[in-house]
Symmetry: D3
Subunit: 321 residues, 6 copies
Amino acid sequence: MAHIFIDQIEPGQTVDDIFLVKEPILRSTTRGDLYIAMYLCDRTGQLNGRMWQATETIYNALPKPGFVHIQGRSEIYQNNMQIIVNNISIVDTSKVCLDDFLPRTTKDTDKLFKEVKDILSRIKNSQLRALIDEFLADDELMKKFKTAPAAIRIHHSYLGGLLEHTHNTLNVAVAILPFYPQVQSELVLAAIFLHDIGKTEELTYDISFSYTDTGQLLGHIAQALLMIKQKADHLEAKDKKIDQNTMDSLNHIILSHHGQYEFGSPKLPATPEAFMVNYIDDLDAKINQVTAAIDNENPDADWTSWQKTLETRLYRKRIEQ
Amino acid sequence: MAHIFIDQIEPGQTVDDIFLVKEPILRSTTRGDLYIAMYLCDRTGQLNGRMWQATETIYNALPKPGFVHIQGRSEIYQNNMQIIVNNISIVDTSKVCLDDFLPRTTKDTDKLFKEVKDILSRIKNSQLRALIDEFLADDELMKKFKTAPAAIRIHHSYLGGLLEHTHNTLNVAVAILPFYPQVQSELVLAAIFLHDIGKTEELTYDISFSYTDTGQLLGHIAQALLMIKQKADHLEAKDKKIDQNTMDSLNHIILSHHGQYEFGSPKLPATPEAFMVNYIDDLDAKINQVTAAIDNENPDADWTSWQKTLETRLYRKRIEQ
Amino acid sequence: MAHIFIDQIEPGQTVDDIFLVKEPILRSTTRGDLYIAMYLCDRTGQLNGRMWQATETIYNALPKPGFVHIQGRSEIYQNNMQIIVNNISIVDTSKVCLDDFLPRTTKDTDKLFKEVKDILSRIKNSQLRALIDEFLADDELMKKFKTAPAAIRIHHSYLGGLLEHTHNTLNVAVAILPFYPQVQSELVLAAIFLHDIGKTEELTYDISFSYTDTGQLLGHIAQALLMIKQKADHLEAKDKKIDQNTMDSLNHIILSHHGQYEFGSPKLPATPEAFMVNYIDDLDAKINQVTAAIDNENPDADWTSWQKTLETRLYRKRIEQ
Amino acid sequence: MAHIFIDQIEPGQTVDDIFLVKEPILRSTTRGDLYIAMYLCDRTGQLNGRMWQATETIYNALPKPGFVHIQGRSEIYQNNMQIIVNNISIVDTSKVCLDDFLPRTTKDTDKLFKEVKDILSRIKNSQLRALIDEFLADDELMKKFKTAPAAIRIHHSYLGGLLEHTHNTLNVAVAILPFYPQVQSELVLAAIFLHDIGKTEELTYDISFSYTDTGQLLGHIAQALLMIKQKADHLEAKDKKIDQNTMDSLNHIILSHHGQYEFGSPKLPATPEAFMVNYIDDLDAKINQVTAAIDNENPDADWTSWQKTLETRLYRKRIEQ
Amino acid sequence: MAHIFIDQIEPGQTVDDIFLVKEPILRSTTRGDLYIAMYLCDRTGQLNGRMWQATETIYNALPKPGFVHIQGRSEIYQNNMQIIVNNISIVDTSKVCLDDFLPRTTKDTDKLFKEVKDILSRIKNSQLRALIDEFLADDELMKKFKTAPAAIRIHHSYLGGLLEHTHNTLNVAVAILPFYPQVQSELVLAAIFLHDIGKTEELTYDISFSYTDTGQLLGHIAQALLMIKQKADHLEAKDKKIDQNTMDSLNHIILSHHGQYEFGSPKLPATPEAFMVNYIDDLDAKINQVTAAIDNENPDADWTSWQKTLETRLYRKRIEQ
Amino acid sequence: MAHIFIDQIEPGQTVDDIFLVKEPILRSTTRGDLYIAMYLCDRTGQLNGRMWQATETIYNALPKPGFVHIQGRSEIYQNNMQIIVNNISIVDTSKVCLDDFLPRTTKDTDKLFKEVKDILSRIKNSQLRALIDEFLADDELMKKFKTAPAAIRIHHSYLGGLLEHTHNTLNVAVAILPFYPQVQSELVLAAIFLHDIGKTEELTYDISFSYTDTGQLLGHIAQALLMIKQKADHLEAKDKKIDQNTMDSLNHIILSHHGQYEFGSPKLPATPEAFMVNYIDDLDAKINQVTAAIDNENPDADWTSWQKTLETRLYRKRIEQ
């Protein structure tokens, strides 16, 4: 049975469906009766839920957050829609169609991943080759790489976003490298493939987008460095030590790819390759952020709302079709 | 007769050649004799020159700066090379091979310009088309466009640099636009063609690179705005008024293409096209600056000297050939 | 009939008057009936309005925003006043006393404008004279100049504010120029007259204060530059070309009058006149902002609320009467 | 006998005059003979001096720095002028015409001071009146106030500069206060009179311009605060206690008159009067700095050299005579 | 009778207790009846209060803010608790147990103060000794010193906080001075004792924490300077003048102890002692702020909420017990 | 035979000693004879050296840089001392007393290291214990740890400086931890021990102080992270895996210990322990820098020269002996 999305529920409608419950709280009314206030969510939004005649047992059993099947009815209360819950039961995550709850890229991730591998096949340098192959051979990691978002907010913040961002930046690099013959092209490709790989560990994206403890304490730049060392150690154990200059050149790009100290790069770019990766990454993220903001807002307005990180509103009127 | 370049003169050598004289000063020795101290320059560097037994007449006749033919001899004085000038005569700029005195792109500017026009021929939007054609038809301006440097220092600071930078950024735009289908491609191409057109007026580049008064007081961003208005006024006079939205969209990209207030942009980018032009411009300028710094320094050293505007030294060691 | 102002409506009062309607939305109740939620505004504030038993036809006819005559009744709902609308009809802007809806200077604008012209009559330099006369002769522009606010928020944000600000800064300049004899006084007066002239185009101020598209994309500094070029082109067509040095000196003051890059000036002041205009403009704007903030707040409190742009609260206690 | 100024000495000239000696050092030649290297200075510049056949006794007797009478001869050594000193004798500061050694305002300081007192006589508020009179009655302080420079470098850096700056800012305030009737005018005048009074203690200006230890450790803002308290304590001892609100309002202007934290103001302006004093002070200082820079540079050049604190070169070409 | 704290009131409970009333407003209902809306507060939080059937007489008599005894009943209204007030009467502050209304250190302030004096007894330098004794002998000031908070928000914002912060920083100084033998230890101890003494005057802390007018206009740094001068003047009157170098060295530490201009220090540290006081002060304030934020938040969460002044959330998970 | 230090050589003295030769260059005189210009250095400074009648063979054999034994004579040339070199021969680094060439701590490093180990023995937590022991057992690393400087410039820039800085910060931590009982003390001690351990790899310090390529490309923060992972991997291989929370907590302190993004920390402190390590590190570095600057300058002057990184001159006058 198809999920009824939050943004399509009408007032006075019967509701019998699975939702993500968040921040349930047990409260008592002025008459002393217990009730549960909660948010009911899917990928299109969230509504207040109220379960009257609740008990501590019901409350304690609820996941915080997690999936529940609810039966109830929608109503308008003080100009806002809310859902009166009559029955609530817990649903195992494995039974849930996650796509209903987390936004996901509209692109075909298998195709994107294949194209990423095709581009990476241009890398002939034996040292980089070995390192990249070590990553590609790590099935568990590649599965995460295909699923993770590229960020919690701002840009490519949907399942598959990391892959989509990596795919697009690799394509841009392939397209422009011919115009910069002094730039070491294979190093650029390898670095772009790995520049955000730490996000697979920095973020959680099973039932909602958030940071892991490690992610928040270390950041994806430091995590990428540790992951590359891990792979290099494996190669060294197989007598294929990556030489120091290759490791340094690659690690430097990872460490400097945010381009400025205040964006969390502990080093500023010091090679042509580091500058190129910094610009391509930033270009792709910003264009994604800007076009998403334009797409998501009122199509009748010439300007979007104020975009805090860009310090401007965005102009939506076009001169081309 | 081929020019003997400054950086190839040996001590004790006879010198009989044309140089650019700069900052000549008339001084007297402790015995009261007059002499002229001056710099003698070409595109490879400058040396101190000394003309003993000078007269006020000779001094007054000297251009400040300008070209002179000198006869004399090189010598080491206090560990530095200098040139003892016996005869000096003024040379008209028209007689001088300017290429010996100003650095020039190594590329074929006619070919670059033809390719620029080829790329611009992709613009079908009638409004942008008319505006671009108006610029291309301005022979005097196009001659300057093919000759001007892109900057006095930092990046593409050589004759033809503006054309080379515009050519390269147009190529980059053509290469990456397919990956960003929401971005208005013709607007991007038109804006890149014009983004630095104000530099033809901002800079002087006849015998050395400097700012014009107007250039220093207004900057090339404001000058580009006025030049575009000039062309649009011409079109309006021919009953081909450019509509307001097209003018605004194009002007906005010019005004915001430095991307940050502190780099002299009075507006921050507010359209996808403005972001794209900002990034492509900055990428091309930085890669040119970085690779030039790497090429110009001691080839035996792993690191360049400190690059003030980049706040780092640059690493010169490669992993690819 | 005098308008009843929003801030004077009492609960339970009959309302039969013209208001500015903003952001009307058609909604349905839990029972499926349609109603319209809207804001009803004048220059003293805004209230929620509700029209029950609405139809799509009524909704579609409403201006968004615009003026309407409403009949209804005020009531308290959830501690806030709202207006229950029984009848609503559209009113043409020409029938409306705009002064009820937009704040306006308390000064006599004809008198202010006459004094501005008197001060400008001190300009004897033929080039500046011609340019200023060209502006003064543009009746349509002068009408806007007398009507426009100086800003949407912060300082002189009321009809006639641009004129009042220009008038006051001209007076300040006349008063202090004698103490700075090296400063070119006529250039200062001309520049002050024109420094914010671009605001006539940057802002809309017919039914509420906002930015035009061009204004938001270009800003009033760039617009002033284009307007001055327009007038200079007219003069050139009449064989009265303004010389380059005069144009540059004037344009430079316009481009640098915000004094810092981060305030949108693409150039920093580089002449005594540019510094003077920058300081006089800023002084007048800040004193207006500060005294307005002090006047508008609770007269019993010694301190105003936090002023975000000034990073402080303001002290209201005086030592003089 | 008139002093021969440093910038007028010709090579090969006999020198028999008083100079300020700075940083004398006793050195030995390769043959082991002792000589003294020193700088010889007046208000027009400084030259290297060399005294061959020196002794430790001569060296020890020299002031470091201080005034000396030297006899010797000028010569060119390695393209620079230097003075060979044959005799050197110490000169008491009281015998020296300090005007030859320290730059001094060209204005009549007695006249300026009288005009300052005239302006201050407008202050009728009894509290401010008492405080100002207490300062004016302090003869020793007023003598310093008439002599001190307003700064070591940058603006009004000459004897009498503090008075000249205070005189001019008071005049500007009197001229513009009528346009800002809400601003408390007597408070503004009192605050301007005292805003830089701490410089009398912050700086030394007997034989050259420098900071006192206290000045460098506390700054003139903190010193002004302590000086005002001193005067208020005297008044309190005479039963004329200044009330707290007056003290606070005045002290606040002193503490905030640099307008920004990074310029050493521990408080940001929070009253209209504080904003006005901040702007008038800054305007007067900047116009003085800018016009001085323009006057002091090569009159043939259209642009001055780079002005570090202003982040620009200055344009010298005028449109008015 | 023990106070019932705000955060322990249940819905439907009879309330008969003293609260701090804040911002009472007299309003009329839609039927025209008068009622009073107010906040009722203690140190654990605040609730909305409503008194129906109010009169202007009752309203006028209310302190704004101040203590009142109220009788009434709690209820839930629109999901928030509020208190319906039936009777209200004013209570004199002297009758109130302030500890119920203002947070207070959990430490024994008499013991802390004794330990502070013990540490200060290490100061043997006669000049510093005399100055410190002058402060310690000022009973009124020392009473405030033992009561004042160290800040309104952020760190040590509770009664006794200033003493607790001073006590802890003195202890830290005593502990680390042995590792820095070049640092003048007695000067450090004296400066730490006095570094925040101005907060006794900067803040009010009788019924709630706020700034005094003088505090807000001058700041505690300037106030400390004036207080030290006061004490030094007393000593001078007793023929025990503190020498200039001692005054300068101490005052400099006060003026620079925030370490950066943007934190309100008008001088940057220029002595080892100034650096040490700056670091010890900042360390103690930050650790207090961080541990308080960790203690005050949900004990089940691994991370606190976003801490604006620290630009991060804080991690609560420990590896030690 | 004791080394004659550069700063003690007198003019006209015979020189027969070992020096570090830097940047030798082969040049020809105006007569065409070859000579070698070079710098001759030890830890007290450097002088110009000149070897006339040089050959290409001699030049090619010279280390660049490295140690040489020279025979020659000192002389004054153009007011500077230089050394005329008659014979030059290469000296193996192993034969050189490095202490003559590199500054070294005056403390006993064996004693310091023993005390470091004593303090670390307080760590009982089994996970941290295992990790610290792994580091202490790495003899090669510990040898570097005892030898490395803490920085190239600024603070503790001498052999043994890293150990001295680590020793002092550990002592400070032990002294102040009792005043902050909520702070996890063993985690602080472990983190301080390792916070700069990456400097053993970031810097070279065999014949002069410089950065390694890896050091310059990655920085010591990233290197410490990789070194800790290396040790943790060893432990995991021995079945003593360090748990994630311990690794995260420790790594976070390393990554954030510079306290601000602009100082190269990719993360801001988010735990009490991270704040404490940041402050202790900064305090110790600054006090070392400040007292060194004061010790190294002219003992007669009250103020040091301008300290660029501190944005002030330092005051040298004391009130205590």
